[in-house]
């Protein structure tokens, strides 16, 4: 039986795409927009990426 795989973003860009897709239905809430930014920041920190400049594409 083929298993469904967990979504496992490896890079900041992949993670951003995942967050935007996952939260697309609830992003109209201001709190969720802020939450999404914090999630991206936490992910970057965990990647050991101290520079925020890498991400803005």
């Amino acid at each position: 039986m083929q298993k469904r795989q967990a979504i496992a973003p490896k890079t900041a860009e992949e993670f951003d795409k995942h967050v935007e897709k996952y939260l697309s239905m609830v992003l109209h809430h201001e709190e969720v927009q802020q939450m999404a930014e914090i999630a991206k920041k936490v992910f970057r920190k965990r990647l050991g990426d101290s520079s925020d400049t890498l991400r803005n594409n």
Binding site: M1, Q5, A6, H18, S24, E31, V32, I38, V42, F43
Partner: protein
């Protein structure tokens, strides 16, 4: 389409709550539970003992000396924490799905992730509330395990194609009941504490929780959203749960607090990684 009754009927065929856990539940009514007494009950089920000791020795609990017996674990963690560990462990052990599209390790990781984040969202609350938060988070999606173990083929047919787009209305239409409702039925059947039953039964509609449980239910709903956002584990479907403003406000946190909460929770989840490899 299946009727609600036929799923409820099937609950009767599900394995009964393991005997050791029933006996443990009966101890929760007393204040004077001794560690020897707990150990004597648990030691009858070696599979549960092995799993509980593995969890207790994980960095999550921050105990530096190795814990080699249940008696020692009760002395260090207290009866309530150990009871919750034993209960969650027994549920996953009893309902582990066989040949299914659901990867049980990913499911464990999602469950543990939601438990840990729920606990951290409740950091301003009492220790007991935090313990309930952890346990309710661990068990919130147990209804999906009920589906998978009741009829793996049907489960696979539903989730394999529709994982990204499935919401609880789709589930209710397909299975006759959604995973939060069937999870709550199981929780009632197995005599879980009321708070846990509501956390399981209302995590996708926290506004419907009775007022006494609304904080915990709101916390688990928020933690589910955050856990999916952080892409921790997988629970068969990645449909976004709605954001509840009321639930968020009740937690009395600032959005900026989430940075510390998520950082702390994710490092605890990382520390517990070895637990997921053999549930």
């Amino acid at each position: 389409m299946e009727t609600c009754n036929s799923i409820a009927e099937r609950l009767k065929d599900l394995p009964a709550m393991p005997g050791v856990v029933i006996r443990l539940q009966s101890l929760t009514k007393r204040d004077d539970v001794g560690s020897r007494e707990v150990a004597q009950i648990l030691e009858k089920d070696t599979a549960i003992v092995a799993r509980v000791l593995k969890l207790v020795n994980s960095p999550f609990y921050g105990i530096s000396q190795g814990v080699s017996s249940i008696e020692e674990a009760v002395a260090i963690l207290g009866f309530n924490a150990l009871h919750q560990l034993a209960l969650s462990t027994a549920v996953f052990h009893t309902l582990a799905p066989g040949d299914s599209v659901l990867d049980i390790n990913d499911f464990w990781r999602h469950s543990f992730g939601v438990g840990t984040i729920t606990k951290h969202l409740c950091r301003g609350q009492s220790k007991d509330t935090q313990n309930e938060a952890m346990m309710g988070g661990l068990l919130h999606d147990v209804g999906r395990l009920v589906f998978a173990s009741a009829d793996a083929e049907k489960f696979n047919a539903f989730y394999y194609e529709r994982a990204a787009v499935t919401d609880i209305e789709d589930e209710a239409e397909f299975f006759g009941v959604d995973h939060q409702t069937v999870g709550a039925l199981l929780a009632e059947k197995w005599n879980f504490p009321k708070s846990i039953t509501h956390m399981i039964g209302k995590h996708h509609c926290p506004e419907q929780a009775p007022e006494a449980y609304s904080l915990l239910v709101g916390a688990v709903s928020m933690a589910d959203l955050l856990c999916h956002t952080m892409a921790v584990g997988f629970s068969a479907s990645s449909y976004a749960t709605d954001f509840s403003c009321a639930a968020w406000q009740q937690l009395n946190l600032e959005i900026s607090d989430l940075e510390v909460i998520l950082t702390d929770a994710l490092s605890e989840i990382d520390d517990a990684e070895h637990i997921f490899s053999s549930p």
